[in-house]
Structure formats: C-alpha cells, structure tokens
C-alpha cells in the first residue's frame, strides 16, 4: 500500500469514527420523537452496512471505541455492548461475502446478528445478577432497527454512492 492510499484510508477511518461519535451524541438529544421511543440501533445499522461494503474503513478497534463511548453515555453496563458488538463486527467482517449475496440476505443477516447480540446481552446481565428489561422492549428495538436498516443503506448509497458490496460487484 503506497503512502497516498494509506492517507486516504486513515482519512476514511477518521470520518467513520467521527460519524459514529456524532450518531451517539445525536441519539442523546433531549427531543421527543415517536421513532426514538422504539430505540432503533442506528449505530449498529451503520457499522454493519459499512462493514459489509468496505471493512477496511472500519477496523474492529473503531467499532469497540464507538460502542464504548455509547456504553458510557447511555448509562449502560460499561464495556458490555462494546464487547458484544465488536464480536458481531468480527463475524460480519469474516462472513460478509455470505451475508452480502443479495440485499434481502443482508437485511436478514443484520436482524439475526442484532437479535443474537441483544439476547446475549440480556443473558449476560441476568448472569451478572442485574435487572433486565422487558422482552417486549428488546423485541421492539430489534424490529425498529430492522426497519431502519434499509434507510441506512439508502443514506450510504445516496451520500457516498456505495450501492453494493465491492466483492459482490466483482463477482457478478
């Protein structure tokens, strides 16, 4: 990799990290909106869509850092979401060719991975002996995130022109 492409990659990583932090901070804005009550996980939707399309611009440590900040500012168990979503990011990165065969499969994979993370999180909280929330709320959050995912893909396509994962485009 030459110096110029390294610089470009570093810039893209910095943009992704900044975008992640901005999403975290925006999610905390004290304004009422009917969508916010369903707790869609926009942050993971963005991470998943980027990891499927170009994992080089979102290394795992950036996912960990962004979710660690989210844990801190959302008063959630510190490090737990960061750990689980980092694992989810590793799985997504390694299996991205399988997940990104078509948009429907990508959408289903996102929902499946998010559900697994949420269930694991509840399970770990239960093992740690802390109070866990209503299953209905978790289900509502997963559904809202799944509904938001196509919008996130649309934004990535509209703003950055990334339509399909690069590896898959080459295969066709």
């Amino acid at each position: 990799m030459d110096e110029r492409s390294q610089l470009l990659r570093a810039t893209l990583i910095a943009i992704c990290v900044l975008a992640g932090f901005t999403i975290v901070l925006l999610s905390m804005t004290p304004i009422s909106s009917p969508i916010a009550e369903y707790y869609p996980n926009v942050l993971f939707a963005f991470c998943f869509a980027i990891l499927i399309r170009d994992p080089d611009v979102l290394p795992i440590w950036t996912v960990t850092t962004i979710f660690l900040l989210r844990d801190f500012v959302f008063f959630e168990p510190i490090g737990l979401s960061a750990f689980l979503f980092s694992i989810a990011a590793i799985v997504t990165r390694d299996k991205r060719k399988l997940f990104a065969e078509n948009l429907l499969r990508e959408w289903a994979s996102f929902t499946l991975i998010l559900s697994a993370v949420m269930i694991l999180k509840s399970l770990i909280l239960w093992i740690l002996g802390t109070s866990i929330s209503d299953q209905y709320l978790i289900l509502r959050s997963i559904t809202a995130s799944a509904l938001v995912y196509p919008i996130v893909v649309g934004i990535l396509w509209g703003l950055f022109g990334i339509e399909r994962p690069l590896s898959v485009q080459k295969a066709y």
């Binding site: 901070l25 959630e76 737990l80 980092s86 929330s133």
Partner: protein, 299 residues
C-alpha cells in the same frame, strides 16, 4: 508476492489480532469493574461525561435550535386557537384560585386549632436536562447540576408536577437522574385514598409496575400515588402519578411527570435519614447503655 512482503503481511495480521484481543479483554474487565466495583465505575463514567458534554452540547445546539424553530412556527400557526384556549383556561383557573384560597384559610384555621407541627418546607434547585439516555436497557437523564451545586446522591428530582427519579451519580458539573421507569428504580409509595403502601418498580416501560400491594382490591385505576417517605431516601407526599390498569391486567403507574419531554427538573434538597451501619440498633440499645448507643434523630 515476495517472501518478504508475505512475512510482513503475516506479521501485521498477528499484531492486529493481538490488538483486537487486547481491546476485547479491556471491555470484559470494564464490565466486571462495573458489576463488582460499581461506585468506582460510575465515577469514571461521570468523569467521561464531564469531558464529553461540551462536545455534545455543540452537536446538540443546531438540532435543538431547529426543533425550537419548528415548534415556534407551529405555535404561531395556532396562535388564535391557543389564545382562545388560554382565555378559557384562565377563567377556570380563577375559579380554582378562589377555591384554593378559601381552602388554605380553612386549613390554616384547622391546623391552628389542632396545634399541628408542620415539617419545614422543602427547598429545591432547578437544572436543565442535558441529555436523555434511553435504551431498552437503561433509562436515565443527565442534568447540568453537580457537586459544584452541592447536589447529593439520592435526592429526588421532579418536573413541574411529578416525580422524575432520583440522583444516582454526581459529577463536578453534571449529575445523573435515574428515572422512575428504569429497571433499577424502586420507590416506596402511598396510594390515596386507600392509604395502601406499595413499591413502584421500573421495568423500562413508560408505565412502571405497582408492586407489593397488600390489598390490591382497595386500589382502583385513577387513584393518586405519592411518595411515602419510607426508607428515608425521599421526602413524603411528592406526587408520583396515578394508578392505571394495563393491557396485561396488572396495576401500573402513569407518571405525572412528562418523562418523554423532560426539559427542566427540580432537585429537592432533602437530607435522607442517617444510614444504619450497626444493625443491632434496630433491635435495641447495646449494653451497657452509653452515649454512643443512643440513636439521635440526626444520626
């Protein structure tokens, strides 16, 4: 690919993997710290907040201004209707004011007749809600009052009308309010008019549970719920909300505070009762009776 480059790639891959493992290990350790040394972990969290908040305010500013602008425009649009509504409400309020004055006078007379000793009125300090951190797992808000304003853990926070939650974590210039809907929240209450005691147990839904009711038949939807002051953390008689029958058939609380649109909160200055550190004092004084064994009101 030359053998040198291949070795370089392998080396960098190994370094990357070690890095990822190391960060994951840090996450696990932080979670364990949060679970087993929560006080220290929350202190770290509030220190992070003190650093993050100036940036968050910068990010929030344009959004808040835009929403204010939209709200103002909508308000201007409905100016005439609002004016008529306000006039009508003012008429009703005048009638209520008269009734309140008469009741206050009557109350003063009765208190005088009974020689009732009143508790000193509670003072409060108002703060602005900086962020609402709501997720399916936690329900909290961050306010712009902290140890600089002499805020203490455990104090009750209210909006204009009802109880919002309690202070759970104080930073230098910020404090966390644990909302009554959070799963960690337990509030002892008194339900009127039946005078039944219960606990309001948060479950992250907007309608927390009314639990540990002794005689559920005595409580009806629409009954008003006040803090009982049991446990000494909250002062008594703060309005919490009204009882409702939820779709699952259980009794739940509809909070009087508008938890979805929190802008300002009042933190009630109230010194909770002294914590009991010596359990035998609950049973009786230790012998031989000495000055140390006498429990005074101020602890």
């Amino acid at each position: 690919m030359t053998p040198g480059k291949s070795a370089d790639n392998y080396g960098s891959r190994v370094v990357r993997r070690i890095g990822v493992l190391f960060t994951l290990l840090i996450c696990v350790m932080l979670t364990l710290l949060w679970r087993f040394d929560n006080t220290r972990a929350e202190r770290i969290r509030l220190a992070v907040f003190d650093q993050v908040m100036p940036v968050a305010e910068l990010v929030h500013a344009p959004i808040s201004r835009a929403t204010d602008l939209v709200a103002n425009l909508q308000s201007y649009e409905r100016l005439l209707t609002q004016n008529a509504e306000l006039r009508r409400e003012l008429q009703q309020m005048k009638a209520w004011r008269e009734a309140a004055i008469q009741l206050e006078q009557e109350n003063a007379k009765l208190l005088d007749l009974n020689k009732v000793k009143l508790k000193p009125s509670l003072s409060f300090i108002s703060g602005e809600v900086l962020i609402e951190a709501a997720s399916p797992f936690r329900q909290s808000a961050l306010i712009n009052l902290g140890s600089d304003d002499r805020i203490r853990d455990g104090w009750a926070a209210m909006d204009g009308l009802g109880l919002v939650g309690r202070i759970a974590g104080v930073g230098t210039s910020t404090a966390r309010v644990l909302l009554i809907t959070d799963t960690e929240s337990r509030i002892p209450v008194l339900i009127k008019p039946s005078d039944e005691r219960a606990l309001i147990v948060g479950d992250n839904s907007q309608l927390p549970l009314v639990a540990f009711l002794e005689r559920e038949d005595f409580v009806r939807p629409g009954d008003r719920v006040f803090t009982s002051g049991d446990g000494g953390v909250f002062p008594s008689d703060l309005l919490v909300g009204t009882v409702v029958r939820a779709t699952d058939g259980r009794l739940r609380l509809r909070p009087s505070a508008d938890l979805l649109r929190l802008e300002f909160v009042r933190v009630i200055r109230h010194s909770p009762s002294a914590p009991i550190t010596v359990p035998e004092r609950l049973i009786g004084p230790t012998f031989p009776l000495s000055e140390r064994s006498v429990v005074t009101e101020d602890g």
